[in-house]
């Protein structure tokens, strides 16, 4: 492995490696002993396929590695392989993810536990490589489990958890792991790589069970059905997504037991919230400038906290509403847009407002902020500007419901 530097640790069978978020996902695929992987290049996802390719070439990993002729085929191939009982991995970015859209819709419909990595990238045009979350969010209504990670370590761990949850017979839904382009996919960090024994204990073999497409289990998959069938089929997927929250909690508890690393609440991370007056929210790697800004603001006596949404689907609405009810105001930073949506806010902001609306108890005002589009840096001063506006709202002063941050104006 050319890019990884392994350091043997004395008291652990784990190894520490200096790897990117993409490489961490590739290592997770190796540890999960994935059977079929399809690839088609698009930046920043392509880093994953390159790393897996090296693992295969170096003899460290044994899998079917298929380079498709486009993203649509890429996702179709693994969909079929998964139906035949293979553990699969796939991924894409931006418009590549869009090109696979038809395959992306049928994957949850057929209850395929595909694990995919989305290297978040702005949708074309103007053809920017940088991060925006709109690509992965396009499948938010379809039955995909969606998770955003903010470190290479979390990328590796979450990939293992994703296989465990997706391939649980109670779920059988795909999972997309979103990694911010550049900030996560292209920067190396020290990552604890668990031993194969621990992974084997955590992750059972994929068992397609009654849905296995095999001559010994003659079934027809995806026959045409009309309005007499569609509602019942959708209701089944609704039930599977409903169960996903429970199975996720089980998996995180087991992860902690076996790997000795805890993520606390699986659905969202809370930072400095215990005594906070206001909190900021967001997904992905903007957590770093936000945390740094919070530390600076706290030195100045401002009690600001941060809630980082990890799992966007399933969305832990009740738990989130209960947590947010403690604060005087909430500011949500979206690295996405939803033109024409309620108050023209970003997607996460709209979901947070929706989660609060029907919740019992206190409902803090929620301000939406659109920032960091196309990979633009979200700076510490940007975060302070956001926090100042949220403080104004907490003091009862009128603030715009949606503001653009870091825009030349």
């Amino acid at each position: 492995m050319a890019t990884a530097t392994y350091v043997e640790e004395q008291r652990s069978t784990d190894k520490t490696a200096l790897i990117t978020g993409s490489e961490a996902i590739a290592v997770a695929c190796k540890l999960a002993d994935v059977d079929v992987i399809t690839a088609y290049p698009i930046r920043p996802y392509d880093t994953v396929m390159q790393y897996i390719c090296k693992l295969v070439a170096n003899g460290e990993m044994d899998c079917e590695y298929i380079v498709a002729e486009g993203e649509h085929s890429q996702f179709e191939i693994v969909k079929h392989a998964s139906a035949c009982g293979a553990r699969v991995f796939c991924g894409s970015s931006g418009v590549g993810w869009m090109y696979a859209m038809e395959a992306l819709t049928v994957t949850p419909a057929l209850r395929i536990p595909m694990v995919a990595m989305v290297g978040n990238r702005a949708l074309d045009d103007p053809g920017a490589f940088g991060v925006e979350h709109n690509d992965a969010l396009t499948v938010r209504d379809l039955g995909w489990q969606l998770v955003w990670v903010d470190s290479a370590q979390e990328a590796l761990d979450t990939a293992l958890i994703a296989y465990r949850v997706s391939e649980d017979r109670r779920i059988f839904l795909p999972c997309a792991i979103s990694c911010d382009g550049a900030f996560l996919t292209h920067s190396q960090a020290l990552v604890k790589v668990p031993s194969q024994e621990k992974v084997n204990e955590f992750l059972p073999r994929y068992n397609r069970a009654d849905l296995l497409l095999h001559p010994d289990n003659p079934i027809t998959v995806a026959p045409q059905g009309n309005e007499d069938w569609v509602m019942e089929i959708r209701r089944q997927n609704y039930a599977a997504m409903e169960r996903s929250s429970l199975v996720l909690k089980e998996a995180y508890a087991d992860f902690e037991r076996i790997f000795g690393r805890s993520y606390g609440n699986p659905f969202f991370e809370e930072y400095e919230t215990e005594d906070a007056d206001i909190v900021l929210m967001g997904m992905g790697t903007l957590s770093t400038p936000v945390k740094v800004a919070i530390r600076q603001m706290r030195k100045a006596g401002k009690r600001v906290g941060f809630v980082r949404m990890r799992w966007f689907r399933p969305f832990a609405a009740a738990e989130l509403a209960k947590s947010l009810g403690r604060f005087k105001a909430v500011g949500v930073i979206d690295r996405d847009y939803s033109f024409g949506s309620p108050y023209m806010s970003g997607v996460l902001t709209t979901e947070v407002r929706s989660a609060l609306y029907s919740a019992p108890g206190s409902k803090p005002p929620v301000l939406g902020f659109i920032a960091g589009l196309g990979g633009r840096e979200v700076t510490v001063p940007d975060v302070e500007k956001v926090a100042n506006s949220v403080y104004e709202a907490a003091d009862g002063k009128s603030q715009p419901l949606t503001q653009w941050i870091g825009l030349r104006e």
């Binding site: 419909a109 057929l110 209850r111 395929i112 059988f172 009654d210 849905l211 003659p218 079934i219 027809t220 998959v221 995806a222 026959p223 059905g225 009309n226 309005e227 007499d228 509602m231 019942e232 089929i233 209701r235 089944q236 039930a239 599977a240």
Partner: protein, 390 residues
């Protein structure tokens, strides 16, 4: 609240789609001549582009807008004043492309409603096919050969206007013959068609059908499972492999009968069926090989028995059979059941020979008018002659 009228047209996919549309549209337009309002539509779940598949079109008419909305609030009518079957073999039942099981042709008829069939058969034959109904209704037969006028272009045989004239008589509250004729002239500027409508109006008559009259068989049904009873992942069990057949005389097993979907048979697509002369069969396998519906069972002695639970009546077997008069297509109205021809032949060869000759003679196959280009146009004068004689 005013009066609400509902009329359905049951037709065969593609060949009669334009015919059905012309009828339902003209019903609305003729009623509108008298100030009524209406809508015309085809059942969306049907697949009317498929060859021979039974499908439905509807016309809903009301005295006023609010009453019309009462009718429009249902996706399709639950009961109708008149059911029009534009092919008499549809009286055996309707299995649409969607899975509903076999629907009796008269299922939606209101008590006292009228089943209007275009046919050259007598009421007795129609009632051998149409299932029994708990409430009495009327049967009206409009004399005529089956109109397969509407494939891609409409080849006019006056069936559309003759049905409109008949409706004016059957359901006088809906519209008068005068309104029908005005609609015909407005749409097609053809006074001869208007005369055809008048002739049908004068000649149509109906007979009362009692609950004890009709085909006594219980149509096969399909029960929809609840969402949590269904398998997940849009996966369904495959149809199992088939098994050997038992010879009814020797009780020896052999051959092969593929298992078939017990709830989606689609044999009501059939307007004619093959009859097989097993004595002349040379076991060449061509019918078995070419049948698009895999309807041939292989008998223990290697003959091929067209299974009438699966046959859609396409006629490919007759076309590919190299032996003269071995496979012959016969009008579906000649048959009362789906029994195995091979079993009948095994049990009584002489009797079968006589049965076969009678079927072929009494109900020659229907050409459907599309065996070669221009065939339907050649048949139109004969159809018009039947219409004139009534």
């Amino acid at each position: 609240m005013g009066r609400l009228y509902a009329i359905e047209v049951i037709y065969r996919g593609i060949f009669q789609k334009q015919l059905a549309t012309r009828i339902t549209r003209s019903i609305v337009l003729a009623a509108h001549e008298e100030g009524k309002l209406g809508i015309s539509f085809g059942r969306y779940g049907d697949s009317p582009e498929r060859n021979g598949i039974p499908a439905k079109g509807f016309a809903i008419v009301a005295d006023d807008q609010l009453t019309l909305e009462e009718g429009m609030a249902k996706y399709e009518p639950k009961e109708v004043d008149v059911t029009i079957a534009v092919d008499d073999t549809l009286c055996k039942g309707v299995e649409s492309w969607a899975w509903y099981g076999l629907q009796p042709v008269n299922k939606l008829l209101k008590p006292g409603g009228t089943l209007l069939v275009t046919s050259r058969e007598q009421p007795e034959t129609i009632l051998q096919m149409a299932h029994r109904k708990e409430t009495p209704y009327n049967l009206a037969i409009l004399k005529g050969t089956v109109s397969f006028s509407g494939l891609w272009v409409y080849k006019d045989d006056h069936t559309d206007v003759r049905i409109l004239g008949a409706i004016a008589k059957i359901l006088p509250g809906l519209f008068t013959l005068k309104s029908v004729q005005k609609t015909i002239v407005d749409q097609w500027n053809d006074s001869v068609k208007a005369e055809s409508a008048a002739r049908a109006y004068e000649r149509i008559s109906s007979v009362a059908v009692r609950p004890d009259q009709g085909n006594p068989e219980t149509p096969y049904k399909f029960n929809f499972p609840k969402w949590h009873e269904m398998g997940e992942g849009i996966a369904i069990p495959s149809i199992p492999a088939g098994k050997a057949i038992e010879d009814p005389t020797t009780h020896e097993s052999g051959g092969f009968r593929p298992d078939r979907n017990p709830t989606f048979k689609k044999y009501t697509t059939r307007t004619m069926r093959p009859v097989v002369n097993f004595d002349t069969c040379i076991k060449c396998t061509l019918c078995w090989l070419q049948c698009p519906d895999s309807c041939f069972d292989v008998t223990p002695e290697g003959l091929y028995d067209a299974n009438m639970q699966a046959c859609c009546g396409c006629g490919v077997c007759e076309a590919v059979c190299p032996v003269k008069d071995c496979v012959t297509m016969v009008n579906e109205t000649a048959f009362e059941d789906n029994a195995s021809q091979w079993e009948a032949w095994r049990k009584d060869k002489k009797g079968y020979e006589a049965w076969l000759a009678d079927k072929i003679k009494s109900r020659p196959e229907r050409s459907h008018g599309f065996r070669y280009r221009g065939q339907y146009e050649e048949q139109v004068p004969e159809m018009l002659e039947v219409a004139r004689k009534g």
